[in-house]
């Protein structure tokens, strides 16, 4: 069973990926749609066997509501596996359901297989530097949070029957009030052909002007990883990643960025990725097309000399 991911009336692409992930396991694929009017979301993708619509009195996500709905669905359908996206919403209720029902659990899962009856999940540890295969308690369902973009999206054109499932909901203890947009910035990094992107490896704030100049000289736009925004060195409109902007420039030149999963989420589909990092094991090298194990300041100095 998977739970459809939607935000502000739009179904997320991740929902299609969850269908493909579920197909790696045995058994029918059920898509649960929890929303004010679930029927507005078309989740009839290839590979879906059943759609369960769970209508609510509200549109937006609240973790108590989703938790209650999912627990009722699990009790009713007895799935072997429940797959949610590794998203901020799922972080707010998935682990709670797993703790309450003593399910097998892991998050940021990027590989799935069935060996006989056993679910085997692959995820990373130690900052993405190593992978591990996990197995789960026998005879218990598993609840897994699946990494976005790890599985191919399922195609349109399914014809699964839909049923409605009513749940009695508790009053939410954490209530959605409103959304606030992320602040707009001076530049739109999503339209640049060439991004020079710097990370925590640049060391301190004093280094920023140097990379602004280097970006100018190279004809690039400067973007950054999250820690530079957290520290207040750059505005968040410049941030690449899951909680920043998703970019797909022709060239993404990353200096001193380790390649955390939430950073990769925002740039890994760039046409050409070049990474410079002193750590040969940095996860960024797993997605880069070209890599240099070198000190970024030395490389920057040489780039400054060229013209």
């Amino acid at each position: 069973m998977i739970v459809a991911e939607h935000l502000r009336g739009e179904l997320r692409e991740l929902t299609r990926e969850l269908v493909t992930a579920a197909q790696q396991l045995s058994g029918p694929v059920t898509v649960a749609v929890i929303a004010r009017d679930p029927t507005v979301f078309d989740v009839s993708f290839q590979g879906v066997d059943e759609i369960v619509n769970v209508p609510l009195g509200q549109e937006e996500f609240e973790n108590d509501v989703y938790q209650t709905a999912l627990e009722a669905l699990i009790a009713d359908r007895q799935p072997h596996a429940v797959l949610l996206g590794f998203t901020v919403n799922s972080m707010g209720y998935g682990p709670a359901v797993a703790a309450k029902l003593a399910l097998g659990f892991a998050s940021d899962v990027h590989g799935l297989a069935l060996e006989g009856e056993t679910v085997v999940a692959t995820r990373s540890f130690y900052g993405g530097k190593v992978d591990a295969e996990l197995e789960f308690p026998a005879e218990r369902p598993v609840l897994l949070l699946v990494r976005p973009t790890a599985f191919a999206p399922a195609a349109d054109g399914g014809n699964a029957p839909a049923t409605e499932f009513a749940v009695e909901l508790p009053p939410a203890r954490a209530r959605h009030l409103e959304f606030e947009e992320a602040a707009m910035g001076d530049v739109d990094i999503t339209t640049a052909d060439f991004l020079l992107s710097v990370g925590r490896g640049i060391g301190d704030k004093e280094a920023i002007p140097r990379f602004e100049q280097l970006a100018d000289k190279l004809g690039a736009v400067l973007s950054v990883s999250r820690p530079l925004v957290d520290a207040g060195w750059m505005p968040n409109a410049r941030q690449v990643g899951q909680s920043g902007k998703t970019v797909k420039p022709k060239v993404y030149l990353a200096l001193g960025i380790s390649g955390a999963v939430q950073h990769l989420a925002g740039m890994k589909t760039s046409d050409t990725i070049i990474a410079v990092n002193t750590d040969p094991e940095a996860a960024i090298f797993n997605v880069a097309h070209f890599g240099a194990v070198a000190d970024l300041f030395d490389v920057a100095a040489e780039l400054e000399k060229l013209s």
């Binding site: 682990p95 130690y126 190593v130 295969e133 209530r175 052909d193 040489e302």
Partner: protein
């Protein structure tokens, strides 16, 4: 007023990796240790609230799970200004649900007004312990919080939850509550040398682990990730690398 902050000493993997003989984990000789980045923000936020609203007797209590060596990270929090620290003595690596089960009884006994956890740990990246713990404590919760306005007398807080793309969900939550704290919510303070020295003298309470049930997963095998096609490595010194970068850029931007 009492705030409990759950913190983790994370493992940082250097340039080289070797695995244990059973291939289920990294050989600890290849690991360095540090206070989890998210937890330094969580600790700062608790200290900030104590200073803002606090009265005599208010406390920030740090709780962690691990062997004696994790006390280094806990002392960092004490040096920042936390009042007390409690370590649940459990030295095997554990999944996030198990960790939540290990800390739950300790937090319960403290009956805090707020519980903070970091959103995730940098070594585990599960983003799950806080939400699981809230469930075990039957507390309202909000995950990935970047701003807190708490009105203790009303028993409510208004928080910002940061979604994908930086969209903020303004959420009202009943307190006591558990919040998982995102980086950037504040600027964690540096402890001065004197505070660090004093923290070394402080007593850390040690409690035995409670019954934790079956783990949520078992690591079957740990391995270096497949390199895929892998990055083509640009050889030579910085000058060669810079030249090659310019060539690649010129060609790709054509």
């Amino acid at each position: 007023m009492k705030i409990v902050v759950c913190v983790k000493q994370v493992a940082v993997l250097g340039d080289e990796v070797e695995f244990t003989a059973d291939a289920r984990d990294v050989d600890p000789d290849f690991l360095d240790f540090a206070l989890n980045e998210w937890d330094s923000y969580a600790t700062e936020e608790a200290l900030h609230i104590r200073e803002d609203l606090g009265a005599e007797g208010d406390e920030v209590v740090v709780v962690s799970v691990g062997g004696a060596h994790v006390e280094d990270a806990m002392r960092r929090c004490l040096a920042m200004g936390a009042d007390r620290a409690i370590r649940v003595d459990h030295s095997r690596p554990a999944d996030p649900i198990t960790v939540a089960r290990l800390v739950a009884p300790v937090v319960q006994r403290e009956s805090p007004d707020l519980v903070f956890c970091g959103v995730q740990s940098s070594d585990g990246v599960q983003a799950a312990t806080g939400t699981a713990l809230a469930e075990l404590l039957d507390l309202p919760r909000v995950a990935v919080v970047t701003r807190i306005e708490w009105d203790p007398s009303a028993g409510r807080a208004t928080v910002r939850r940061e979604l994908e793309g930086g969209l903020l969900d303004v959420t009202e939550v009943d307190t006591p509550a558990l919040l998982t704290i995102q980086t950037g919510i504040n600027q964690p303070r540096y402890a001065n040398l004197r505070a660090i020295k004093q923290a070394e003298q402080k007593q850390i309470a040690v409690v035995s682990p409670a019954e934790q049930g079956e783990p949520a997963y078992r690591v079957r095998r740990m391995f270096a990730p497949p390199k895929g096609e892998g990055a083509q490595i640009l050889a030579g010194g910085p000058a060669d690398i810079a030249r090659r970068i310019r060539e690649i850029v010129e060609e790709r931007l054509k």
